[in-house]
């Protein structure tokens, strides 16, 4: 992240492309402003001295949650009902290149 320098218009366009979202000129304007405000707010965290402190990936203090390799009935019909568009039993999605 850019911190104080903020995030450029070009970066927002790239992020929009990664998310496969088309933004209008006006939206680009609005999001640039909003995202930079959010980043500036979070930039406060950068002020904390984290030298020598190991990164913490998880806040929960436990590990090794496993399941056994046993088949349970899938909820395929219910799951398919949540799909916006189907064709036969296939999920239909826009073509992406």
């Amino acid at each position: 992240m850019k911190g104080k320098e903020g995030i450029s218009r070009k970066e927002i366009e790239h992020i929009a492309w990664l998310a496969r979202v088309e933004l209008s000129k006006k939206e680009l304007e609005v999001f640039s402003k909003q995202l930079n405000e959010i980043l500036a707010y979070f930039a406060k965290i950068d002020e904390v001295d984290t030298e020598g402190i190991p990164p913490s990936h998880h806040v929960l203090d436990f590990s090794n949650v496993f399941r056994e390799d046993e088949v349970e009935s899938s909820m395929s019909e219910e799951s398919l009902r949540n799909v916006p568009q189907t064709k036969g039993r296939f999920v239909r999605a826009p073509r992406m290149t």
Partner: protein
Amino acid sequence: MKASGTRIGLEVHCQLTNLKTKLFCSCSSDYRGKAPNIYICPICMGMPGTLPVLNKKAVEDAMMVAIALGAKISGEMLFFRKNYFYPDMPKNFQISQYDKAGGVPLALGGFVQIDGKGVRIRRIQLEEDPGKLSYEGTIESSTHTLVDYNRAGIALIEIVTEPDMSSPKEARLFLEKLRSILEHLGVSDGSLEGSMRCDANISLKGGKRVEVKNISSFKEVERALSFEITRQKSLIERGLGVGQETRHWDEVRRITVSLRTKEEEQDYRYFPEPDLVPFVITEEQTRDIERRMPELPDKRRRRFIEQYHLLPQSAEILTRVKAIADFFEGCAKLYNKPIDISNWVIGELLPHIRDKSIGIDELRITPKHLVDILKLMDDGTISRETARFVLQNTLSTGKMPYEVIEERGVKRVVDRDYVKKMVEKVLEEHPRAVKDALVDRKVANYLMGKLMKMTEGRLDPKLAGEMIKRRLSELSKSATF
């Protein structure tokens, strides 16, 4: 094909086909040949509020692979999200592992020996397979993708090598060896369609690294890499240079095509998967799995040489594919003639498999078939030539050898009267040769040849030889008087 300064690295994805369920949910992994989207659930469909739970056996199987490849298993491993928007993953990310940004994959390092050369392993990690895409109508004109998520969430291990291979052939040898190791471990069946796939990195001296994706089988790897070497060589020779890029292997046209992807590694925005806690692997767990490790191809090869006194070359060929090594040992258990068996497996069975391009599991015969044939040959019931014929016949029909012998009437003839009759017939048909044979006994061999040809090699050769000799000496006596 060998070009100087060629460096090839592979990224192999193997499904852990031995597992009954997916990596993070209890959906069945038995998706081949099934209707689309019958093994999907809120977890693998990425519904809000669901939590993935790691399959314990997947970790154990992956640990086995790591141990077999001599990799160092991490004391604590993490899962990371690889974010991308593409319909093959309904969550818009793939749960994977990462070796940067504080990520710790399952194992690092390792080594595979091929043809007197070592290929170093960089890392081994666990991740989920994406779903399968097809297109509505033709691939060119289609505006929509049809997705089957039965495969989404199947456990994969990703094995990344250092760029230590220098020819497409070495890449193939590496993959064959890897497949044999995985099959000996019993964690992945490489004969299942799409169970092993790979991407390749290749660079030539004077050029940048090119990544070739979408290689669907090991046979294609050699082709894709050979094509790339020719393409890159010609670019370098013409002074055009080779830039770093990702290309796609087009299996139909047998060429690589530039992908012009705008996505770079940083665009995947890897970050620790918050829904999965860290996994601690103790040394004791590693030792426990080490104790349960089955025999691996290198050890088995050495045992074949020691126990069965096979030539090193034969032992190497037999242990390249687990099913072939199993077939050989199955025969050797039934009949204590390992060297003959090895010769027949290598000399007759493997060419058949190669010619028909089938897997040994598609063979219609069992070790008992081959052993029965060898026994019938050794006790003189059939000749070597007939044994070959019977084997070919059982290979294509799956019939038991004795059935083929009965049906085809190819049993060796030991009936003296019949042999005598045939000998007389041959001598009658070749009067000039008989005359010569009376002067020069070597001509008898010619008559023997004619006799065997007439009877399709079915006569007992010892008996037939004696009969010709006897008849000739009778004739020579009567000619003298």
